[in-house]
């Protein structure tokens, strides 16, 4: 895996061409190449990389001359903050809307909701992001369209959600990132609600004369939540991958923007470190989702025991 990434990234181009200004003399050129160890044979470079990687050192960025791992981990909080904001938005907007349109499938408002959901499903998110910038930032001028805004130090990391300026900067990117998931969750909740409504236990609850609120939140919601949680967990990984796009549009200083910038200047150590990190992150996310899933759905546990 690490060999594949390393060789592949090595094959795309010589970073010395990008790093060194064309006016540099030959002597300066050689000096720079040697200082980065780029003159050594490939297997020496890979061997060195492997040894260092095992010590937690994934190389130094050519561009920023800082350890690649440090560079990336500095940007992880920004990406995670954005991803969580999108996730919360999805849950607290998507689930109620889905429930509503599940209960009243023929109302005009639920048709509008489903129309929005179909739209969010098909429209490429990056274009939607651009149009949001255009409408809310350029034409209306309501919300800022780039950067993170004012950040405050919270438990040792810089966060935006505690300042009003930071929140204002977060609205557009978070909504953009949430758009696809929102459509998905609305559909899922709606389908689940419609299925559960027809079930015997909901009919029985109605016959018992329970309050509608209790039926909705206990009987219906609890049973539709299982598939929603699974999908949300899996979607969280997608969110981090897709944050690349959103971060590029809104100039959000997260790890997604870093990787795109690094690709364009062939900053090899950062690319390799990012890819390794994202793979590890994915394995962890998938593991957590599996655990949550079996905790929530008793049927999964039963099957495993057999």
């Amino acid at each position: 895996m690490s060999l594949l990434v390393f060789l592949g990234v090595y094959a795309i181009g010589n970073p010395a061409d990008v790093l060194i200004s064309p006016e540099a003399t030959e002597a300066e050129r050689i000096e720079v190449i040697q200082s980065f160890g780029l003159d050594k044979p490939l297997y020496v470079q890979y061997g060195k990389f492997l040894v260092n990687a095992l010590h937690g050192d994934l190389g130094r960025s050519f561009k920023f001359s800082e350890p690649a791992l440090k560079l990336i981990s500095e940007r992880v909080p920004a990406t995670l903050e954005l991803a969580f904001a999108a996730l919360l938005l999805t849950i607290f907007v998507g689930v109620p809307l889905g429930l509503y349109s599940g209960f009243k499938p023929n109302a005009l408002s639920s048709k509008l909701i489903m129309g929005f959901s179909a739209f969010g499903f098909s429209v490429p998110a990056f274009w939607l992001g651009l149009m949001m910038v255009l409408v809310f930032a350029v034409f209306l001028g309501w919300l800022p369209a780039s950067g993170r805004g004012e950040t405050v130090n919270f438990l040792g990391i810089q966060v935006s959600f505690l300042t009003w300026d930071g929140i204002k900067h977060m609205i557009l990117p978070a909504f953009n990132l949430a758009c696809f998931k929102l459509s998905l969750i609305i559909r899922l909740t709606r389908a689940g609600t419609q299925e559960v409504i027809r079930s015997d236990y909901v009919k029985y609850a109605k016959a018992k004369g329970l309050k509608p609120a209790r039926i909705i939140f206990v009987h219906v919601l609890k049973n539709t939540l299982i598939p929603i949680t699974t999908v949300l967990g899996l979607e969280f990984g997608r969110t981090i991958a897709f944050a690349t796009v959103t971060e590029t549009i809104f100039a959000w200083p997260g790890m997604g923007k870093l990787i795109i910038d690094s690709i364009s200047v062939l900053d090899r150590p950062v690319i390799v470190a990012y890819l390794m990190m994202i793979v590890v992150m994915f394995i962890i996310i998938n593991l957590i989702v599996d655990i949550i899933y079996s905790a929530l759905d008793p049927r999964v546990r039963l099957e495993e025991r057999r």
Binding site: L4, V5, G8, V9, A11, I12, G13, F119, F121, S122, V123, P124, A125, F126, W127, L130, M131, V133, L134, A137, V138, F139, A145, G237, R238, A241, F242, T244, V245, T248, I249, I259, I260, I263, S264, I271, L275, I278, F282, N286
Partner: protein
């Protein structure tokens, strides 16, 4: 082939399976509209060089004095730019038609290759079973647990830019969906009587897989193929927007949108807006077709 055509032509077309499916498809007017929209876009892409008012990549026809004109403005030489121009005085309508050609061909070609490759592997896995099946499905599961965009991103970092490279990346990303679907449907078919009959006749494995098993699995695969084309076009546009998909010499719709991004903040919306509209219309129409095909071809939903 000829023989089967003759025998079946004695049955009126509308009673044959294909005719029935088409008739049922046409019951939904929005699906028919979607089909014609796709048809118009495909034709527009094929004949882009004939119908576009300008060859957008022939520098001799471009006039820098016409740069970033809003839609419907007159050019320096008197003709009208329906959708405006970009910074080099390129007519956006022509650029969109040429971009459509690249976007559609990347989407369609990558889907066809992924279709052939994935379906064959899925069918062989279902028919043969055993270790090959286990191994293949492991690979498929592993791949599907990562988001398509991420895999394509990694592949393109490794492969570099270019039409061939992005097509390859999309094939690698999408074959697993076909393999899983083909295996899924073939699992239901492989124990049916006609397969047993074919086996009893001692027909070759390949012949059974591709002449007997495959036609019966096709409907569900075609549904997936339709939505996959939409997805491939969307993924390609996203990657090109990020600047790691296609090189600037092959401007797909995604690249046009990306190019207009710089001008968005000064309110010059048309450079990004119209290519995006074209992209959205194609994708929505393809998805609508896919939805309708699923309703028509899925036997479980039959009333």
């Amino acid at each position: 082939m000829k023989k089967t055509d003759k025998t079946s032509s004695s049955v009126p077309f509308k009673d044959r399976p294909l005719g029935k499916a088409i008739a049922e498809y046409c019951e939904s007017s929005s699906a028919v509209i979607a089909f014609f929209v796709v048809l118009v876009f495909v034709l527009a892409a094929i004949f882009a060089s004939v119908i576009s008012p300008q060859n957008p990549y022939n520098l001799a026809t471009l006039d820098l004095l016409d740069g970033t004109l809003p839609p419907l403005s007159k050019s320096f030489s008197g003709s009208t730019y329906l959708l405006g121009t970009d910074e080099q005085g390129r007519d956006m309508l022509s650029a969109i038609l040429y971009g459509l050609r690249i976007s559609l061909s990347v989407g369609v070609i990558s889907t066809i290759i992924a279709f052939v490759f994935g379906t064959s592997l899925g069918l062989i896995a279902a028919y043969k079973g055993g270790r090959f099946e286990t191994l293949l499905m492991r690979v498929v599961d592993l791949q599907l647990s990562f988001p398509a965009l991420l895999i394509a991103l990694v592949l393109l970092v490794v492969l570099g830019q270019g039409v061939d490279k992005i097509t390859l990346a999309l094939v690698i990303v999408h074959w697993a969906y076909f393999a899983r679907a083909a295996r899924g449907s073939a699992m239901a078919e492989r124990n049916r009587e006609y397969i047993e009959a074919a086996r009893a006749l001692r027909l070759g494995d390949l012949r059974i897989i591709f002449r007997h098993l495959m036609p019966n699995v096709m409907p569900s695969i075609i549904v997936i193929a339709t939505t996959m084309v939409a997805r491939a076009i969307s993924t390609e546009a996203t990657l090109s927007f990020l600047g790691i998909g296609l090189p600037i010499t092959e401007p797909s719709l995604g690249l046009l949108i990306s190019n207009g991004f710089r001008y968005l903040f000064s309110g010059k919306y048309w450079i990004s807006f119209y290519p995006g509209i074209a992209l959205v219309v194609v994708i929505v129409a393809l998805n609508m077709m896919g939805d309708r095909l699923r309703d028509v071809l899925n036997p479980r939903l039959k009333r």
